[in-house]
């Protein structure tokens, strides 16, 4: 759809002193769909349209009714009990009309804030023809776990195909109202792999709650209620969240613009970020990674796992990534 492509190019922020994101937007095409409803268009969804919505290659606002917002009208009524139906219908619509327009398919709520550049960067090392699904991994209800709906999750093209095929063949059914659990079950049934979206330091990129839930320092304590479902050992305080965060949820209108200001505008002049993206990591860091168990995970170094698509990275980086692979499942190497 060349229309959406030209729209995206004109909206890329090129402020003074800034180089636009290396053209990941054409190499890593993301279609975003936002789960919304008529009641929320003015109070919530318009703020997404004004901020991150335009950074998607294509953005679709999915509602029960079509409108000039513009929204796509799904053949579903509103209400919590209908959420999984909405999800199913939304993905079916996307599969029918947009399968070839994107490589990755993100679902977000109308109170989720997303940093598209960081999503594309994380996805850039992965192959959309593989059955993969990324997000904030939760543990209960399903053996392999599932990805939090509010924090947003992203399906590869192959994962989308399998989801739709699952319903077409009756292998997946509407067996729950909880959309994220339901989708997670179908992913498991259709043998879609769970990805690990954490950065190289083990910090989360997708967040089901706002930043103030995670960042303030806490004395060591048992998991608060909002961290109960976590698959990976949660970290409270500054180590919670990656510098290259991808999403935050339960973000109201004021917070949406505040996060936009923090991410894309407010900055310290001349500051050299502490967390640097380097293609060559120091020997000390490599040694540390090989020796220590990070956050109770067991690091498996499997020499058979190749470092596919690391064209420009050096071997040392490859070693780190292999360390972070758990049980052969792919990780999110934001390096």
């Amino acid at each position: 759809m060349s229309l959406s492509v030209s729209k995206l190019n004109s909206n890329i922020l090129i402020a003074e002193n800034r180089r636009a994101a290396p053209e990941f937007s054409q190499k890593v095409r993301v279609l975003c769909w936002v789960m919304t409803q008529p009641k929320h268009l003015k109070s919530r969804t318009q703020h997404i349209r004004a901020t991150w919505g335009k950074r998607c290659n294509i953005v679709l606002y999915m509602s029960s009714e079509v409108s000039d917002f513009p929204t796509v009208g799904l053949n579903v009524s509103e209400g919590r009990s209908q959420l999984y139906w909405k999800t199913i219908r939304a993905f079916q619509h996307i599969h029918t009309h947009h399968l070839d327009d994107a490589d990755w398919f993100l679902k977000a709520d109308d109170d989720t804030f997303v940093v598209l550049e960081n999503l594309r960067y994380g996805l850039s090392k992965h192959n959309a023809e593989e059955p993969l699904y990324f997000g904030r991994r939760f543990t209960p209800f399903i053996a392999q776990g599932y990805m939090s709906g509010g924090a947003g999750y992203v399906l590869s093209k192959e994962a989308l195909r399998r989801f739709v095929k699952g319903f077409a063949d009756g292998l997946c059914t509407h067996n729950t109202e909880t959309e994220d659990v339901g989708l997670g079950k179908c992913m498991e049934t259709m043998k879609v792999q769970m990805g690990d979206s954490r950065d190289v330091l083990g910090r989360q990129t997708f967040h089901p709650y706002p930043p103030d839930y995670y960042l303030p320092r806490q004395t060591p304590r048992p998991r608060p209620w909002y961290l109960i479902y976590e698959h990976y050992q949660p970290v409270e305080g500054p180590g919670c969240c990656s510098d290259l965060a991808i999403s935050f949820h339960y973000i109201d209108a004021v917070q949406m613009h505040t996060l936009e200001y923090y991410t894309y505008h407010l900055r310290p002049y001349g500051y050299k970020y502490r967390f640097k993206l380097t293609t060559l990591l120091s020997k000390t860091l490599i040694a540390l990674a090989l020796e220590t168990q990070w956050f109770t995970r067991k690091a498996l170094v499997n020499p058979n796992l190749g470092c596919h698509s690391f064209k420009e990275e050096r071997t040392s980086v490859c070693l780190i990534v292999m360390c972070l692979r758990i049980d052969g499942k792919s990780s999110f190497p934001n390096i």
Partner: protein, 317 residues
């Protein structure tokens, strides 16, 4: 009855005229200075990109060494959580940060001024800072309820000579007096500090304990003492004229902008190079720290002319 009434009226009129004359004289003394300076200063902006590019290599490498900031953070035990937050976050980006307290707290270190009066405390802190400045030439005074981005402060004063008097922040007017608001932080050059401390000796024009029946706020007393020493308040702004010193929280400013500029909320709200915000809770300040120093989109590179490195013993930055 009538004659008593008219005497009363005469008395009132005479008293009124007397008051007006006295206030006229008061203004007259400082009036001559302000005429000359107001046109030259008042709005202070950072160097433009073009001007920065024109600087020579040696000038560029010297600048970060010259622009070094001593932070005076005025705390009280009542503000303990904000005190701890400032200690943990932005104050680590000052070249030297000293906490000055009204009374000591077991939890956190500070210079205990043992002084309950806010103006007297500020005077003592200023004297202490000046004496302990070493080779630091810029001073930033704030309460821990303020959040400051020191790199942006340095960017603002980069080309300003600290041996000249500078008194910068968010300026307000009170009658004839232009003063810098305390909540959004006060910047003073070395020369301004020196003149101020000299003026502290003048008990008539710059008393330590106010003689008036009412108490003037410290920010206004400070402005008055500075004005008598020929130092005038200047409003810190970016190239577009947006204020860099904010006495409101980020969400408050964003919220205002949503009301006034719904089509362009963030652009219209606040400067990219903002220096201060105030009125934020400690956890909002932790989020702001992350938002300023960490959260960013991959691929947006800046070609700034200067480099500031992350400080030691700090995180969330």
């Amino acid at each position: 009855m009538m004659s008593e009434g008219s005497s009363f009226m005469k008395g009132m009129v005479l008293g009124g005229i007397f008051c007006l004359v006295m206030s006229f004289f008061e203004n007259f003394n400082s009036g001559t200075h302000s005429e000359v300076h107001e046109h030259l200063h008042h709005h202070l902006k950072p160097l433009s990109k073009d001007e920065l590019e024109k600087l020579s290599e040696s000038q560029m490498s010297d600048l970060p060494l010259q622009v070094r900031v001593y932070c005076l953070i005025m705390v009280t035990p009542k503000l303990l959580v904000h005190w701890a937050t400032a200690n943990d976050t932005w104050s680590k980006h000052c070249d030297k940060s000293v906490f000055y307290t009204s009374e000591s707290s077991k939890a956190l270190e500070a210079v205990d001024l043992q002084e309950q009066d806010e103006w007297a405390r500020l005077r003592k802190a200023i004297k202490h800072a000046y004496e302990n400045a070493g080779d630091l030439r810029w001073f930033f005074v704030a309460r821990p309820t303020t959040f400051a981005i020191i790199e942006n402060l340095k960017y603002l004063v980069l080309d300003k000579d600290p041996s000249q008097p500078f008194y910068i922040g968010h300026t307000e007017k009170s009658g004839e007096l232009d003063y810098v608001e305390y909540d959004s932080g006060i910047v003073l050059s070395y020369e301004a500090m020196r003149r101020l401390i000299e003026m502290f000796k003048d008990e008539d024009r710059c008393p330590e304990r106010g003689h008036a029946l009412w108490k003037t706020s410290e920010e206004k007393q400070l402005a008055t003492c500075l004005k008598y020493s020929g130092v005038f308040a200047e409003n810190g702004e970016d190239a577009q004229g947006k204020g860099l010193f904010n006495k409101k929280s980020v969400s408050s400013l964003i919220s205002d902008s949503m009301g006034q500029n719904p089509a362009d909320v963030v652009e219209a709200c606040c400067s990219d190079m903002a220096i201060t915000f105030a009125g934020m809770s400690p956890s909002q300040m932790q989020v702001l720290m992350y938002g300023v120093y960490r959260l960013r989109p991959y691929g947006h590179d800046f070609h700034d002319s200067l480099t500031f490195l992350p400080p030691k013993d700090s995180d969330n930055d």
